[in-house]
């Protein structure tokens, strides 16, 4: 099953680093039996993801991806079984759709090797992978699952599980620009950021940001050039590291204060847990694309790819999404860590207390931060893997545009700071529509249930009518 392909190796590296960091974090977050179970599940997740990445055909890929989903379901169900159920059902449905596409591919092309798929079956595989990558419309499982999960599981989910979908789309693609992916990617980027701005649950905010960053990756894949592909992959790796870092630091907030609701947090974490605050800043800078961090390098690659092909509308959409990202991370940082000021700090409780349960937890986060910074300062190191010529990263125009985005975001945040503090949830219209759509299958269900009334004569009448129907059908369609 070995695949010497650099794409698989690239994802495998990100999976490995993230799993190791999470294993370390588990030492701090859980205790006793739960910790052992979680470590076991994390290792299992890593093994299955390696299997998925090195699979030679779509069937084996689906098998391993479903095993990953099962393991993550088990992890999520430790804290919230309903969200876990929705997650599992969405993943099973997605895997089934990919299977249909793979079956079609094997029958038309004679092979199921992981690669481009003949046209009409491509839609099945694309929609299946799209559910896994949270395309808008089928993204409903992601916010619930990622926020309800215990923090290490959230890190694995956002950091790695959704990347398997990106890997699949990357494998699926050919080198031609794909307008559907570009549109979906831009919509995802803006949609994710807008929903994130509305959240008051810290982990839900991060989950919507995952949607937004996935939008960057999907758009990059949609460009169709080698640079775009490289940008998507690099962003996948960078995102795994910095999103993992962000989730783990929010996890420390959650464990320390007992809540992840931004309206309830004291906002004094910058003084209570200074080291965590520094690591959080590293992650926030990375996701905002601050020069010198991994997010900057990958966003530069993506933007260069777009500019090369002249796809300026998508470029500006992504820039706008970048501004939104900065705004919401300012919100998270401010309300999570800064707003209480030094006066609100819990006197006497120092981060040192957390150290007493082993500093391994901290070590995990440090690994991720180090990776982020390293990739940021020296992006050329991956050129050997990706085999392309990198654009000039630290050229003046790139640095300028990212700094512009960051400062614009910070500025707007200061202006609308109080407006964002309450956090509101929109989309009432969609909820109403969803309830109306549910009436039809519920009505069918009700009718079917009432048919089983226990009346023998009714059953036999149904049998006779069905016989007549079959008779008429066969009579009409005999050949």
């Amino acid at each position: 099953m070995a695949f010497g392909d650099p794409m698989s190796l690239f994802f495998a590296v990100s999976s490995t680093v993230l799993s190791v960091a999470v294993l370390f974090y588990n030492e701090w977050y859980f205790e006793g039996k739960e910790r052992r179970t979680f470590n076991f599940l994390t290792v299992g997740c890593w093994v299955a993801s390696i299997g998925a990445l090195f699979a030679q055909d779509w069937l084996v890929f689906v098998v391993f991806v479903e095993v990953v989903s099962l393991i993550l379901w088990r992890m999520i169900s430790f804290t919230d079984t309903k969200a876990a159920l929705i997650y599992l059902l969405a993943q099973l449905g997605a895997a089934g759709l990919i299977l249909i596409g793979a079956a079609g591919a094997s029958l038309e092309a004679g092979t199921m090797a992981v690669g481009p798929v003949p046209s009409e079956w491509r839609w099945f595989v694309l929609v299946g992978l799209g559910v896994k990558t949270a395309f808008p419309g089928v993204h409903f499982w992601l916010p619930k699952a990622h926020s309800a999960a215990p923090t290490p599981a959230s890190a694995l989910l956002s950091g790695f599980a959704v990347k398997l979908g990106i890997y699949g789309i990357a494998r699926l693609g050919t080198f031609a620009s794909s307008p559907e992916l570009l549109i979906i990617g831009s919509v995802m980027a803006i949609f994710g950021v807008l929903k994130a701005l509305m959240q008051h649950d810290a982990k839900r905010l991060l989950a919507y940001h995952t949607v937004s960053q996935l939008g960057y990756m999907v758009a990059a894949l949609g460009v169709g050039t080698l640079l775009g592909l490289a940008g998507a992959l690099y962003h996948a790796l960078a995102h795994a590291l910095f999103k993992g870092l962000l989730f783990l630091s929010v996890g420390r907030l959650e464990k320390f204060y007992g809540t992840k609701d931004l309206r309830l947090l004291r906002g004094s974490a910058a003084w209570d847990m200074p080291y965590t605050f520094v690591l959080f800043i590293v992650g926030a800078l990375a996701i905002s694309g601050f020069p010198g961090m991994s997010g900057f390098a990958s966003k530069v690659m993506i933007k260069e790819a777009l500019k090369e092909q002249g796809m300026y509308p998508v470029y500006w959409v992504l820039q706008a999404a970048g501004v939104g990202t900065v705004i919401s991370f300012c919100k998270l940082g401010y309300y999570g860590f800064l707003s209480g000021g030094k006066k609100g700090a819990i006197v006497g409780r120092k981060e040192g207390l957390a150290y007493s349960r082993g500093s391994f937890g901290f070590l995990g986060m440090v690994i991720l931060a180090a990776g982020t910074v390293f990739l940021g300062f020296d992006p050329e190191v991956t050129s050997g893997f990706l085999k392309i010529s990198m654009p000039g990263f630290f050229g003046w125009d790139n640095v300028f545009s990212s700094l512009l985005v960051v400062s614009l975001g910070v500025g707007i945040f200061y202006l609308v700071k109080d407006f964002l503090s309450s956090g509101f949830r929109g989309s009432v219209v969609l909820d109403g529509l969803w309830k109306k759509i549910q009436h039809v299958p519920l009505a069918v269900h009700f009718v079917i249930v009432k048919m089983h009334s226990g009346r023998l004569r009714f059953y036999l009448t149904v049998v006779v009518f069905a016989t007549l129907a079959i008779l008429l059908y066969l009579a009409k369609h005999w050949r």
């Binding site: 249930v449 089983h452 009334s453 226990g454 009346r455 023998l456 004569r457 036999l460 009448t461 006779v464």
Partner: protein, 111 residues
């Protein structure tokens, strides 16, 4: 002539089916089953008619028919009899529980 026999057999089958569907009394359902069976078997027996059939050793015209359907019918009658016997036993047991043989009231197991 044969056609009328076929039509009669189908008619009897349908009468049996109608009995099962429309009568509420369980005994009438069992009777309906018997009628249905009778109809189907009549069909088979009629099918065995041979025009101008001649018995093997003594050639008397029009006095022999295919004996195979008769064998089948006898077998099927035996099967039908055991069916009805089992049905009646179960009807008695159901009556002990429900106190009635009205099918619309025997609805303990539903949904």
């Amino acid at each position: 002539m044969i056609k009328i026999s076929y039509a009669t057999a189908i008619f009897v089958f349908c009468v049996g089916l109608y009995t099962i569907l429309s009568k509420r009394n369980l005994f009438k359902t069992v009777i309906g089953l018997t009628i249905m069976e009778a109809g189907a078997l009549m069909l088979i027996v009629t099918a065995g008619y041979v025009h101008g059939g001649v018995p093997p050793l003594i050639p008397i015209e029009g006095q022999a028919v295919n004996p195979l359907p008769h064998a089948f019918t006898l077998t099927a009658i035996v099967i039908g009899a055991s069916d009805v016997a089992l049905a009646l036993a179960l009807v008695i047991k159901v009556h002990r529980r429900y106190g009635t043989v009205d099918l619309d009231k025997i609805r303990g197991l539903k949904e």
